[in-house]
């Protein structure tokens, strides 16, 4: 049996809900990940932003949490 900790990635930015979508898209380019987790100040998971859904948004200053 394989455990998640053996295959999980920890090398990604901790984005907040206030991160602009344009910046999120840049992080997708840099990391190559298909999605990025959104956390609060205590690193508590708030949600996941998926690349394919974000691409439909107009890149601008819209925070990712809106």
């Amino acid at each position: 049996m394989i455990f998640a900790q053996e295959v999980m990635t920890t090398d990604f930015p901790a984005l907040s809900a206030e991160t602009p979508v344009a910046e999120v898209l840049q992080w997708f380019e840099k990391t190559g990940l298909p999605g990025l987790p959104i956390v609060d100040a205590k690193r508590k998971l708030l949600g996941v932003v998926l690349k394919e859904l974000s691409l439909n948004k107009t890149p601008g200053d819209t925070p990712v949490g809106k």
């Binding site: 049996m1 455990f3 295959v7 999980m8 990635t9 298909p34 999605g35 998971l45 996941v48 690349k51």
Partner: protein, 385 residues
Amino acid sequence: MQFPLLPVVNYKGQLLGVVVMENLPTGTGSIDFGCRELEVTRENERPGNESMEISPHDLFRRTLTLRQAGIITYSPNMLELIDLCSRAAKVTSTVLLCGESGVGKELLAKLIHTSSPRAAARFIEINCGAIPESLMESELFGYAAGAFTGASRHGKCGMFELADGGTLFLDEIGELPLALQVKLLRAIQTQEFVRIGDTKARKVDIRFIAATNRDLEQMVAQGRFREDLFFRLNVISMYVPPLRQRKEDILPLVHHFQAKYSLQFGNVKSFSTEALRRLQGYSWPGNVRELENVVECLMAIGPEGIIEDKHLPKRLLQVNTETCIKVNGVMPLSQAVDILQRMLIGEALATYGDISRAAEALQVDPSTLSRKLARFRKNSKCKRD
């Protein structure tokens, strides 16, 4: 919708990392990764068990979260119990955890504490069976300065004061002397106690969790445990099932302890399929503690490389053919046969993991076993509907 990645969190919901589906070694996607473990559980599902209504995502997420709290389980009964713990964590009612020694009562007590609003305060544990009777009172309530010969000049605070604002876990409560049971009952009821040799009552705010491997009701009947204390403790009662009743947890636990001791001892060893089958087939009277000890011993002094079944302790190699069926009353024979079949088939599936091997062990044709399983599931569904 298939998610291309799944976040991995600890029991506080804090992000630890993400699992990217396309990076998984199987190349089949991580939904399959989640489902594969579920499939094992589903194959082990005892016929008639109605508690398996859980999605792969939920099971995957919940078991990962629990793993961070040190709880390794895929058992539907344990997951239900953990749900109950999270509900119990929201209130301050006393919890009584019952179950055999080594099943993980202390872990569940800690889980209740860490999931409760008291998580930032202390979790104080006292083993009522490990402290001599003469010291127990001072350990619980503390004593005033110069309370008795040999006492500290400054006095000493007891577990009650240490646990103020937090949780006091009274392990092996069945071992508490009768004389102290009265004082404990009063302290739990009033949330007040007096240090030995003192006159001043001290007010505390404590959440109590007790645990026992004894049958407290029987002890009450025998006059060895106070009935009023039993009722005071038994507000939220939980029974932690023994490992032999959740065989689907055995292999994940073996792998967990294998990884733990590999890291600790700096060696890499693995178990042969037959050795794993033996480990899963054993009844584990000492439960998870016994399992951990066996794995630790094998990782420490077992052979390098592959651990075969011949390297296992002798007691694990003895086939237990002793049958114990308890008859409590008269019922229709067909119903009794049906119950026994369900139990035997469930046991075989839990031990051997798939239908063909279970059928071989039961000495029936795999198609017969599949047919019986389908019938049990249909009957269970009809009962639910």
